[in-house]
């Protein structure tokens, strides 16, 4: 419980970091007209989950306050914020870190991914390009960058980034998929077909690639082949729907606990690297405790697959 105790004392110093800046202006809730309002449901957090959220926040606060110099601390604090859905804070944490350490490739990488998540593709491409220059080995950096360029209507640049980066790894199918779309936009339909086919060769159940292949084949006037590709797309779609239905019964509470346990373990490693064995031990112990509860606790109700549902 060392983490919790420490965080209480340090809350004031980290509040500027952890208080999320609302992206939507506060006046959103204000309506000057007098209207009859029907009672709205409350937005209460069920008890079990509230504890997890608060604990994750406390951990983030403690990590940043106790080990501010370590990039790992920044990464962990930002990740915790992002997982809560608070990308604004996550981005703020990284921006502050990059002010001091602009050479941190992961910072630009994460900022880029947050921007991707928020649909700011032009900005995302800028950050990801910086990250790529610093560390081209970041996970699927070319794929992310190529996709952003494609979505920003920078089609030729997207193709230039993607084509030499296809590789043989698992992400190659995704890069080929985006390359296929770039080729479609360039009206290079034969090359688009080859890219989608390549994606399918690597990942035969890649639903979107089958759709792209069908589109390319139809553009080439190969109606029968296009229809066969569409049929496969339909079949895979129905399997996707079944998988989505299975996700509905996922145990969200247990997943969150396992995640939190992992973060405690990461925090423990940071503390150990900083030469604080007592903190490390406390963090690892708490992580083990949380992990145990993940596998044994009675889970809260199953959740929908997403925020909407």
């Amino acid at each position: 419980m060392a983490a919790t105790g420490a965080a209480v004392a340090l809350t004031a110093t980290v509040v500027a970091v952890t208080a999320p800046r609302p992206r939507i202006a506060p006046e959103a809730a204000a309506a000057p007209r007098e209207v009859v309002r029907f009672p709205a449901p409350s937005a209460a957090v069920p008890e079990g989950y509230a504890g997890l959220v608060e604990e994750a926040q406390t951990l983030a606060d403690w990590i940043v306050a106790r080990h501010p110099s370590r990039p790992q601390s920044t990464a962990l604090a930002a990740t915790l914020a992002a997982e809560r859905g608070d990308q604004e804070t996550a981005a703020t944490v990284w921006r502050a870190h990059l002010e001091r350490h602009p050479e941190t490739a992961e910072g630009w990488y994460r900022l880029g991914l947050y921007a991707v998540k928020e649909g700011r593709d032009a900005e995302a491409a800028e950050w990801l390009e910086r990250a790529r220059r610093l560390d081209p080995s970041l996970p699927d950096i070319q794929g992310h960058l190529g996709r952003c360029l494609l979505k920003s209507d920078r089609v030729d640049e997207a193709a230039e980034v993607l084509e030499p980066a296809i590789g043989d790894d698992r992400g190659g199918a995704v890069r080929l998929f985006h390359l296929g779309h770039a080729r479609l936009r360039q009206e290079k339909i034969t090359e688009a077909r080859a890219a989608f086919q390549g994606a399918i060769d690597r990942a035969p159940t890649y639903t979107g690639a089958w759709y792209g292949l069908a589109t390319a084949l139809a553009r080439l006037g190969l109606a029968d082949d296009a229809e066969r590709a569409r049929a496969e797309f339909r079949r895979l779609k129905s399997e996707d729907a079944e998988a989505a239905a299975r996700n509905l019964s996922r145990d969200e509470g247990a997943r969150m606990r396992r995640l939190l346990a992992g973060w405690y373990a990461a925090a423990g490693r940071i503390a150990a690297l900083d030469g604080n064995p007592q903190d490390a031990q406390a963090l690892l112990s708490r992580g083990a405790m949380v992990d145990k509860s993940a596998s044994s606790s009675s889970a809260p109700p199953p959740t929908a697959a997403g925020a909407g549902h």
């Binding site: 500027a16 970091v17 609302p22 992206r23 939507i24 809730a29 309506a31 007209r33 209207v35 009859v36 029907f38 009672p39 409350s42 937005a43 306050a65 501010p68 370590r70 990039p71 790992q72 990464a75 990740t79 992002a82 997982e83 809560r84 859905g85 608070d86 990308q87 703020t92 921006r95 502050a96 990059l98 002010e99 992961e106 998540k117 928020e118 700011r120 900005e123 800028e126 996970p139 979505k151 209507d153 998929f177 089958w210 759709y211 792209g212 589109t215 569409r230 797309f233 779609k237 509905l248 990461a266 690297l273 900083d274 809260p300 109700p301 959740t303 929908a304 997403g306 909407g308 549902h309």
Partner: protein, 605 residues
């Protein structure tokens, strides 16, 4: 409503690898613990903001709206029941309709409303929980005439469409609800009568959605297509949560209903022809519906937005009212990545000015709405990225939509109604909010630019908007908007184009069918002015489960005259009108070959 998943990247094992392995270790005696400051981070020298995706608007605030709600005296307040149990139907709210119910030349309003649900606290007992028919009294004022007009509807309303089903010259009303569907027949004397039973359109107890009238078989009367959502009942309600927060269930939680197709028998009755016509061969969680002649073969096809599952449907008409679902082959089932769209509203119009009717579909946050460009020969492509048709929309759930020329420059702009379905979304997602401002995207040379702020939409109270209807409500030559807001009063936006001295010309046309259906529903109108051609079709039912725009509006830009208008009537031939005036409403009657300027409006008593 495609689910907004949690930040998946944070869940990847890769994340922890990065956390522990990527950074360069630094000595413990690091600089003093100066926590990063939000203020400092707001303008770091190392991070220079890059240009946002869309270019800035080329002209200063060419589109401008003002909130005219209060002056309109509209007293309607929507309720979704707010049961506290989060029944699936609550966030669906409803569409809205604009149509001239009494034939006086002014566009009136119809607002469906929700109803009490188990768990609803009564709240203000004086509040009407019924639908509202609001008569346009002129001068921007509307009066609730529901009871006087014989519409005391307290069903849980979801969708609305207007159409003259009995060809008597007055628009009837069809409503979809959480329950039985309803048809109110317009008697022509300012009153309606409930003709649900005699017309045979109740269609059991379903969660209804968008609906559209069309003359599917070209026999001169209006048939009816009604989308249905999912097989939800109060008894099979499923509480759902996300990240520990209660949220509404969605389309994945229940199997979908097939949609319903009613063929008009011509004797006041409709026959459920869903199976015979090929509609019931597929089923999806339908929401918005719009008709168009997607392949330009002279008959009316049906486009249905399905909510996240099955892909959208395009029912291709064989000209005799038999349909085949062809969305996937046509390229309008899914977006360009092969992903289903959380479709809400659907709209049809010529977005790129190439003379073909394109399709636009609103979507669930964070996915963008989708513009499908019509390539001809019944083929479409997802042109969202190429046209920036999703500008500014990523953080919003988008619902109602209108593709309309708000500045009369001859190019169709986009309006999107925004609002989340979960009233607690801010608790688990800081990128969005329950109440949002709406979006207007100006069409600048074929690319869409988010001009919402300049258009005044950021100055207007935010709501959880749903249905949108777009018509010239004050008969001044520009298109206004009415928006149904979930749980609150609606918003009426008056377009200030004329008041601000807009000099672009315009033209409105009202069709009168003789051989074909009376309002010319489904007719294709091609307007030639100088070297430009403008195309539209008459729709009855569009957007998010609503109805608007039966009176066609064309912005003409600087063209001082109309050379001719060609009309291809459904079930009839093609006819040319050469004497159509600009800057006013003209009535074009089938077979007459000449336009008649519609009489000017005069204040109502």
């Amino acid at each position: 409503m495609v689910p907004s998943s949690p930040l998946c990247l944070a869940l990847c094992p890769m994340t922890l690898v990065l956390v522990l392995g990527c950074g360069q270790p630094r000595p413990p005696a690091a600089p003093p613990p100066t926590p990063p400051s939000a203020d400092r981070a707001s303008s770091p020298p190392a991070i220079v903001p890059v240009a946002s995706d869309p270019p800035p608007p080329s002209a200063a605030a060419p589109i401008r709206f003002v909130d005219a709600t209060e002056a309109s005296r509209i007293g309607f307040v929507h309720t979704d029941g707010s049961s506290g149990r989060r029944y699936l139907v609550e966030p669906l709210s409803a569409g809205v309709a604009t149509f001239d119910y009494d034939g006086d030349g002014r566009i009136d309003l119809y607002f469906p409303n929700g109803a009490l649900l188990p768990g609803t606290e009564p709240g203000d007992s004086e509040s009407p929980r019924r639908h509202a028919l609001c008569r346009n009294l002129g001068a921007g004022v509307f009066g609730d005439v529901s009871l006087a007009a014989g519409i005391d509807c307290r069903d849980y309303g979801l969708g609305v469409v207007a159409g003259d089903v009995d060809e008597d010259g007055f628009a009837d009303l069809f409503l979809t609800t959480f329950g039985a569907k309803r048809l109110f027949r317009n008697l022509g004397d300012g009153t309606f009568v409930d003709a649900t039973e005699s017309a045979n359109v109740a269609d059991g107890e379903k969660v209804g959605a968008g609906a559209t009238f069309l003359d599917a078989d070209g026999d001169g009367d209006l048939d009816l297509y009604a989308a249905n959502y999912v097989r939800f009942t109060l008894d099979n309600h499923r509480p759902r949560s996300f990240k520990g927060f209660p949220v509404y269930a969605g389309p994945r939680d229940y199997p979908p209903w097939p949609d319903t197709f009613f063929r008009n028998s011509g004797d006041g009755r409709f026959v459920d022809a869903s199976v015979d016509a090929g509609i019931a061969a597929v089923a999806g969680p339908g929401m918005g519906v719009v008709c168009l002649d997607h392949d330009d073969d002279g008959d009316t096809d049906i486009y249905v937005g399905n909510d996240a599952l099955e892909g959208n449907f395009l029912f291709e008409n064989d000209g005799r009212g038999n349909f085949r679902e062809t969305a996937l082959a046509a390229g309008v089932a899914v977006n360009r990545f092969g992903a289903e769209i959380g479709s809400m509203g659907t709209e049809a119009g010529d977005a790129d000015g190439d003379g073909r009717i394109d399709l636009f579909v609103t979507d669930f946050q964070p996915d963008l709405p989708v513009l499908f460009r019509n390539l001809g020969r019944g083929q479409f492509e997802d042109a969202t990225a190429a046209t920036a048709a999703g500008s500014g929309a990523w953080q919003f759930v988008t619902w109602g939509t209108a593709m309309a020329d708000f500045d009369n420059d001859g190019r169709r702009d986009l309006f999107l109604a925004c609002g989340h379905l979960n009233d607690n979304v801010e608790a688990f997602d800081d990128t969005t909010a329950y109440r949002n401002h709406n979006l207007v995207l100006r069409n600048v040379g074929g690319r869409f630019v988010d001009v919402s702020a300049a258009a005044g939409l950021h100055d207007i109270p935010r709501h959880a908007a749903r249905g949108v209807a777009c018509d010239d409500l004050d008969d001044d030559g520009d298109l206004d908007l009415v928006i149904l807001n979930s749980r609150e009063a609606p918003t009426l936006l008056r377009n200030l184009d004329r008041e601000r001295g807009g000099t672009n010309h315009w033209c409105q046309v009202r069709l009168r069918g003789r051989q074909g259906n009376r309002d010319g529903v489904g007719a294709k109108v091609v307007l030639h002015a100088g070297d430009e051609t403008f195309v539209d079709e008459v729709h009855a039912g569009r957007g998010y489960q609503g109805h608007f725009g039966t009176r066609l509006h064309f912005g003409l830009g600087g063209h001082p005259a109309i050379d001719r208008i060609e009309i291809r009537w459904i079930g009839g031939g093609t006819e040319t009108f050469t004497d159509v005036p600009i800057d006013r409403l003209a009535e074009l009657t089938e077979g007459s070959g000449r336009a008649v300027a519609a009489p000017g409006s005069s204040p109502k008593p």
